[in-house]
């Protein structure tokens, strides 16, 4: 049985973390020093000084995430991001929020001292968060791939697709992203839309990703993908989309938006415009993971073929390795060996069920490999994105 942490806004978390957020790179060291006192305190933030609406929305969504029970914002005091406004927005979710401004506190040592006092008090409050039973129907599961090779499309991703079908059938919520890795597949993807609006939104999201990739002249395919047997973005896309399983897709959401109802959703992380006349197509895997978490993902399932070691702040990351040779080399980082499908004749259904069961165990408190190793990567870039209105 999963015992969720009941938040004041009614959401249920599967972890009970405290979040320390730096609102500019200048306050990141102090934030890390405050967070280092207790393993349940996660440090993250936005590096830019010039404020960004997207990044601010992201920090509010992460501070109000169900796995987070309280937030300490650490500001330098002169950056563009308004820590007080962020605090107000997160407080509306009922989470306790504190703000420290390093310039007001008198520098590094007084801020760290005061921050550690505040964190100690908030950790005591976290112990008193009520627990309520929850089922798979209450879970939001994100899926992403990184360090892909040509095994990803035949083992790890279709196995995650089977797990995604099980989640949807259990009345849960699944989110896949990476529309930049759906290029060339828009008709196949649009055909999966649960209704005409979903189909239209899915086609538009993939076409937007194609236009953006051509504009910035970057396609989401890296040298390691090609060394691993993926010749083109179209080939990578077909393999990546296998993570979606077979159930109807309810529609498209944007970063920091919660799916309006249960079922399978596609997250569009692509910028709607490029404020500086340039942009990344796909900054890195940690950005994608954090995007899924900003939409409420309790757990992110991450597939790899070449090998990856990353975890995340806030939500556990489960790593599914589709390449049996990589698994043999990096088993210390992998939670599931989907390479058994290639090397040992295991079926996609068997491995899909194993992933589903591991999601349930992780939700019940069992740590993932990345959690045990202490991986807490995150990445928030400058970006401009308009929200979808799915309500």
């Amino acid at each position: 049985m999963i015992l969720g942490y009941a938040r004041a806004d009614g959401r249920l978390g599967i972890r009970n973390h405290l979040l320390c957020v730096h609102t500019v790179e200048c306050s990141s060291f102090v934030t890390q020093q405050i967070a280092a006192t207790n393993n349940r305190v996660h440090a993250m933030g936005f590096a830019g000084c010039y404020g960004n609406e997207y990044a601010a929305r992201m920090m509010v969504a992460l501070g109000s995430h169900p796995n987070v029970g309280g937030v300490l914002l650490v500001s330098l005091g002169c950056e563009g991001t308004d820590a007080g406004a962020l605090a107000g927005a997160i407080r509306r979710s009922g989470r306790p929020v504190e703000v420290l401004r390093i310039q007001e506190q008198g520098g590094t040592e007084p801020t760290i001292r005061r921050g550690r006092e505040l964190v100690a008090g908030m950790l005591e409050d976290l112990e008193r968060v009520p627990r309520l039973p929850m089922t798979m129907a209450g879970l939001v599961i994100g899926a992403e791939c990184g360090g892909s090779d040509a095994t990803s499309g035949i083992s790890a991703n279709p196995a995650v697709g089977r797990a995604s079908d099980l989640i949807v059938d259990a009345a849960g919520t699944a989110i896949i992203e990476e529309t930049l890795e759906m290029l060339g597949c828009q008709e196949i993807i649009a055909a999966r839309g649960a209704n005409p609006k979903a189909a239209e939104d899915l086609r538009a999201a993939v076409e937007k990703a194609e236009t953006f990739s051509l504009q910035v002249d970057q396609f989401s395919i890296a040298p390691g993908n090609q060394a691993g047997g993926l010749t083109t973005i179209e080939e990578k896309s077909m393999g990546a989309f296998a993570k979606s399983g077979t159930r109807p897709i309810q529609g498209v959401i944007k970063v920091a938006e919660q799916p309006p109802h249960k079922g399978l959703w596609v997250l569009d992380t692509v910028p709607d415009r490029s404020p500086f006349g340039f942009g990344y197509s796909n900054p890195n895997d940690s950005e994608g993971i954090l995007d899924l978490i900003s939409c409420g993902a309790h757990i992110v399932v991450f597939t790899t073929g070449r090998g990856s070691v990353i975890g995340s702040v806030i939500s556990p990351v489960l790593k599914v390795c589709g390449n049996p040779k990589t698994y043999a080399r990096m088993s210390g980082n992998m939670d599931v060996n989907a390479g058994r499908i290639i090397a040992e004749g295991a079926t996609l259904d068997e491995v899909g069920r194993e992933i589903f069961d591991l999601i349930a165990a992780t939700a019940s408190g069992q740590p993932t490999k990345a959690e045990l190793l202490g991986h807490r990567e995150y990445f928030i870039p400058y970006k401009s994105q308009d929200l979808c209105v799915n309500a």
Binding site: A150, I188, T231, T232, E234, M238, G305
Partner: protein, 99 residues
């Protein structure tokens, strides 16, 4: 080198495909059996890479998962390794800078 035909060395994902995926490193001259088709592999095909299972003319699509995933830039013989040296993305023609 063994002359035995290996059955588990390559996978054709969709019946429409004109390539198969190597399930191990395959040496040139190997015979592989792919869903009833015996193929002599012409090149070294690394694990998870693709080989042609039918003749593919220049300009023809490379079909994997039953869909075009690339276009052949030169003609490719059955058993030939298929990768960036003889196939490219359909998006390549639309790019500002040729890779």
């Amino acid at each position: 080198m063994s002359s035995a035909v290996s059955e588990l060395k390559a996978l054709r994902i969709d019946p429409r495909d004109n390539v198969a995926v190597a399930l191990d490193d395959i040496a040139p001259g190997s015979q592989v059996l792919i869903q009833g088709l015996t193929l002599e592999v012409l090149d070294r095909v690394p694990f998870a890479h693709k080989m042609a299972i039918r003749p593919i003319a220049a300009g023809e699509p490379i079909l994997k998962y039953g869909v075009p995933i690339a276009v052949a830039t030169v003609s490719i013989r059955p058993g030939g390794w298929v990768h960036e040296h003889n196939a490219r993305s359909y998006f390549a023609a639309k790019r500002k800078v040729e890779p």
